[in-house]
Symmetry: C2
Subunit: 178 residues, 2 copies
């Protein structure tokens, strides 16, 4: 079954962008370059919510940034009516869609930041791994990596180590994914 990983760079207080969507606090080091490259190996699909997609476009990236060619980008939205160029639009139930996607043939899947979709997919038991690059600051507000959705999710620690620039890499297996 295809593995779904939710990964993000995050402040110690759990935000993936600040209140103004600024990302200037991100520390882009050789460590991060290597970890990012490793995490994309074997991946051929990306999942993101509409807001993350629009954020990526505003940042000048678009959905395919960072990924190799041959990547399929799925945008989850109930309000968009047409798929953006280079992406597929998913208007149906996210958990059901991802559950089916994991059963279909293909490589691994990365779930991009934007807490709402991630929260729904974690709660739905479809996320297998969570990776955080914890940055050494408090942002004091912004988009949370894990919105408060109620309900516990047990995790199993895979890896915890400090990397360059006072960042800490944390990787967890989601105990009850399927």
């Amino acid at each position: 079954m295809r593995k779904v990983t939710y990964g993000a760079a995050v402040s110690l207080d759990g935000f993936i962008t600040d209140a103004d969507e600024a990302l200037d606090w991100l520390r882009w080091t050789d460590d991060v370059r290597k970890i990012t490259a490793d995490s994309w190996k074997g991946v051929d699909a990306m999942l993101m919510g509409r807001k993350t997609w629009e954020f990526a476009v505003r940042q000048g990236g678009g959905g395919g940034r960072g990924g190799p060619s041959g990547m399929t980008t799925y945008i989850f939205s109930t309000t968009m009516t047409e798929a953006p160029e280079g992406a597929e639009l998913v208007r149906e139930d996210a958990v059901g869609f991802v559950r089916a996607l994991k059963e279909a043939p293909g490589g691994d899947i990365i779930l991009m930041g934007g807490g709402e979709l991630a929260a729904a997919l974690i709660a739905g038991g479809t996320v297998d791994e969570i990776g955080l690059n914890v940055h050494p600051l408090l942002l004091g507000g912004g988009v949370p990596m894990f919105p408060a959705v109620g309900g516990r999710t047990p995790l199993k620690l895979i890896e915890a180590r400090s990397i360059a620039s006072d960042c800490v890499l944390l990787r967890y297996e989601v105990a009850a994914s399927a």
Copy 2:
């Protein structure tokens, strides 16, 4: 100058209790016992907000739990009119009070969980160190260790290591405390 440390056990999504105030998810291991004992060495004062005090009382602890005798407990509240038994009541501005307390003679100071007071003191530049024992689960809601108060606080990583039971110890120096 006396050092102020804000420490807490926290879920990966940043909560120090769940929405029902449950703490049954805490993993109390020999590692934690040793780390806790070490962190109390040289400490002779505790700071906490009214809600944390009341929570501690409901948990059957009271303010002095965990600390050695000779500990002074300061409860910060603008609504309490009388100091609870065994504690001092601080009704004045928290940042100014703690700034003066740090200049006074005495040992180190521990700031107990309950994000509101901590957030004010961190924003006010009076917290020197932050320690987290990150537990391997998402709680999905509850009392956040770091409420979103706006404004960035730069940190410097002191220590990051995995301890027993899939927990991760993170310690940071607050870059601009005074």
